[in-house]
Symmetry: C2
Subunit: 213 residues, 2 copies
DNA sequence: TAGATTGTTAATCGATTAACAATC
DNA sequence: TAGATTGTTAATCGATTAACAATC
């Protein structure tokens, strides 16, 4: 299911693929066998031609006159996105946000597994584990990483610790980083970093609210 | 500082404006007086012409041969985005994520104030308040909203409660909704809803990781 | 004035969508 | 075959960027 030719695939297409997947999960729960591009489009708030175009980047998944088989398309999109296997997450910073992510059920529904948590607070280290996930001191990162290859690091530390943690992640060569600390980290190009800045999202929301009035 | 003519402003422009603002905050901390479009661009990872174009949608803020006065541009962008005043937030669901948001310091740095939290758990209600923020039963929403106009509702409940809470928000006519529950809510068009789906963000990260290999 | 940087135009690039032949 | 829906093309729409006159 690799890309056809060597077209560059727009990032928006990838984001929409995630949305289609979410919609297919529901369709499976409702035990629908087949879904059309127009139904999929309506549910995701996009154009039907766009659904077909997005999929066409990766191959032919539908049947003319019929639509898409829900189970097949579900599996195909998972494969396209690379989430047809388990991805191992490590969490840095077991505060409120970190704990929320540890217990985040949607991760488990997909193949995302938090396999280790890191913190420097002796009280938390004393607990040994939380929700079945072991808590380590960051000094032990290399050891943990060697035993059980970490795919993605989640940074949920205070701002003051975020770059320190990032440097350790770089050192361990964990290539995927999901950063929740409201600061732009200094991380080399070859790493893939996604920032989640709540304040920016609010800014965006506020702007749209102002436009309405 | 309203839009010039009646050009439609791209949503990406608004998102970038937030990024420029973040950069200006830093420039202010470093007590820089003036910043050029190319510096701003480099710091935010965009093109200098784009910075100027984005700003040009809203007016002329720079001085040829000089650049932009940091303090002025900071104030101007805040005004453009509508965050030159306090925005009152109410939080629904005081679990780990909700608590994290309650204590989120970046909100305070901007003019975002969480003024009330809502939960149905008697234990939490018994606490009366958390971090200085009063906790109410959702039944009291109307009363609280009447006393102290709520601008934005944050949904950080379990999935099972999200739509129930959304319906109350609709009823109270709170027009801005920031939803963290991993479910697409049924909310009328006139409300402004932003979803934060952690799993979708991870999906995106994973796709990019796969591309590298 | 000389140097620097903006604001803006025009050219380029890329993404969306309507339309329809292919085909189940 | 008739009806439906895909895959794909071509047209449209929109966003990015290079380039440069305006001007501090």
């Amino acid at each position: 299911m690799e890309r056809r030719k060597n077209l560059k695939i727009p990032e928006v297409t990838i984001r929409r693929l995630s949305a289609y997947l979410r919609c297919l999960v529901r369709a499976r729960e409702e035990e629908r066998n087949v879904i059309s591009s127009s139904t999929l489009a309506k549910n995701c708030g996009v154009n039907a031609a766009q659904v077909r175009k997005d999929l066409a980047y990766f191959g032919k998944f539908g049947i003319r006159g019929v639509g898409y088989y829900v189970d097949d398309l579900y599996a195909d999109i998972k494969k396209i996105l690379g989430i047809d296997r388990v991805w191992k997450l490590a969490l840095f910073g077991v505060g409120n946000l970190g704990t929320a992510l540890l217990f985040y059920k949607d991760f488990l529904k997909q193949n995302y597994r938090v396999i280790a948590a890191f913190d420097i607070d002796p009280e938390k280290l004393g607990m040994g584990s939380i929700g079945g996930i072991p808590i380590f001191h960051p000094d032990e990162l290399m050891k943990v990483h060697q035993e059980e290859r970490i795919d993605i690091a989640i940074i949920s530390t205070p701002v003051s610790q975020a770059q320190v943690v990032a440097d350790r992640i770089i050192q361990a060569n964990i290539r995927g980083v999901l950063n929740f600390a409201p600061i732009r980290l200094d991380i080399p190009e070859k790493f893939v970093v996604k920032n989640v800045f709540f304040t920016n999202i609010l800014d965006n929301l506020v702007y749209l609210l102002c436009q309405q009035l």
